[in-house]
Amino acid sequence: MDFYGFSPRSRLLLGTSQYPSPAVLASAVRASDCEIVTVSLRREAARLREGQDFWRLIRELGVRVLPNTAGCHSVKEAVTTAEMAREIFATPWIKLEVIGEADTLQPDVFGLVEAARILSADGFEVFPYTTEDLVVAERLLEAGCKVLMPWGAPIGSGKGLNNLFGLRAMRAHFPEVPLIVDAGIGLPSHAAAAMELGYDAVLLNTAVAKAGDPAAMARAMRQGVEAGRAAFLAGPMPARDMAAPSTPVLGKAHLS
């Protein structure tokens, strides 16, 4: 797994939003053992300086940041946000979101490809939040993306993998491209299932931040991701409709 030259040990990426407190966020990030967290940019008020404290916290956690363009609905917005992010976070990485619809927060695949082209040409290393559409994926790769992040389900829905068929087809179609399931994961079994499909990593936020015990859920998600990956590598048995005795039939005593 290679994210623009960085090969993380951990296959879980974690969002930093919606936690009850900075302390809980910190404990969740540590419990997740993740090496990459997503962050955003928001307006800073001169007096409050909220951003300064948040940024200090993240730096102390010693993780890489993947800034996002969350909430951007136009290419222009997304590009400008990416430029500001690159300066502040001092990284060429950008989680590119160009939102196309409010209810599902699904990507605008047209704006996404255009913004990906502009940013890649400008030296950004783009992590596009996209759908399972194979043609859109091809365009994103042509635009210069070297990682793809299809959604599992709408952001914050916790529904898991809505289109298992589409995700399986995507993995089969792009055997070499690092693929991250981003958004929709609600439970470790969802994360494990994504990894069992052969996905390279999982990015999630709400399921951890909104859990009763975020740190415990972060640890659970980490295990789910590791379990799914290990199973994928271990070569699972093929599922079958009928039963097959596990205990040997041969040599059974006759006791009737």
């Binding site: 930093t16 919606q18 940019l41 007096r47 951003g51 996002n68 400008t80 500001m84 300066e87």
Partner: protein
């Protein structure tokens, strides 16, 4: 003069973006800036003159998913 800073009308005496930030009391805060929708890198703030009515966005790191 009157500027729109992060969506709010402000009265500021400044000829360029760097001065504006100082006048607005951001001091050494880690922020990124955009003028009328275009990104202005930190190193160009001094050279970026501003006009009455300009829209200035001043952002900093925040939680994200």
């Amino acid at each position: 003069m009157t500027l729109i800073v992060n969506g709010e009308r402000r009265e500021i005496a400044a000829v360029n973006l760097a001065e504006a930030l100082r006048a607005l009391d951001y001091g050494d805060a880690i922020v990124a800036t955009a003028l009328n929708g275009d990104f202005v890198p930190a190193r160009k703030r001094e050279a970026t003159s501003i006009q009455p009515g300009d829209r200035i966005e001043i952002v900093s790191p925040r939680q994200g998913g």
